[in-house]
Symmetry: C2
Subunit: 158 residues, 2 copies
């Protein structure tokens, strides 16, 4: 994947998490997809497509329980020790905001992506994957509460 197509997701993530959770995530790494890293214990997935069906994929936003509990406790001003409905809803909203800002930047580069609604999955021993035929990368960030990941699996980018 062209770094010019990845950077909008990095910038959007830093901006959204900083604004919503008052903690600035630090980019640790942009590397290959790791299906056991993609999720942690809660992950939101947003499908991406375009009207000509030549761009298709999805974005994942995955957290471990300690990391997302810290972020959502900051967001909502209330302590959340465990993953619950409020946390799942917040993860979906964060994914939606990150995808929205990144798509806006990509649109300025002439790449128009439509977003589906975010789904949210929580559980144990999560493995998140897409087709091996599709370019996939994983962006890891560090926060006070621990690391989290953005995964991109997108076919057809120029």
């Amino acid at each position: 994947m062209d770094p010019a197509h990845i950077q909008p997701f990095v910038d959007a993530t830093v901006k959204v998490i900083s604004t919503m959770a008052f903690t600035t995530p630090k980019l640790r790494n942009i590397g290959p997809w790791d299906k056991t890293l993609a999720a942690g214990q809660v992950v939101s997935i947003i499908g991406l497509s375009n009207e000509n069906d030549n761009l298709q994929g999805f974005m994942t936003l995955g957290f471990t329980e300690p990391c997302i509990c810290r972020i959502v406790s900051n967001m909502l001003g209330e302590e959340f020790p465990h993953i619950c409905d409020e946390i799942r809803e917040a993860v979906g909203e964060l994914a939606n905001m990150i995808s929205g800002q990144a798509r806006k930047r990509l649109s300025a580069q002439g790449i128009k992506l439509q977003a589906a609604l975010p789904s949210i999955i929580s559980g144990n021993d999560l493995i998140v994957d897409g087709s091996e035929k599709t370019p996939r990368i994983m962006i890891t960030f560090d926060t006070e509460g621990g690391p989290f990941e953005i995964g991109l699996c997108i076919n057809g980018l120029p």
Copy 2:
């Protein structure tokens, strides 16, 4: 959700599973979303959207381990006792085929939905959810290997 928009997913599921896995799933129920039912142990999620951004959502296809092992063993003519990469890939392909056939039928009704790529998530104690503000339904089917579910979470259908 209008039954006319649900039926294409029911028909596509029966056709795809029957054709691919030589076992005819029987429709058990069309009912409210159940976030612990949506998945079982492996779930594929496909984002849905349209070019005007007035239709957005996703489809889930979720199985328990015994059910999907039976289906994929039938599909590939090889025994799969546990969820593995081959099974995850097959679940994504089944979701893609079901979504493709259902979207074709919906298109004939004037409803154009574009699909993202399928993501596949496996794990334990899975909970799959979408926004409570979005119409969500769950379609349950029975097979020899046990039940499985199609979940629909779609905003903006007429």
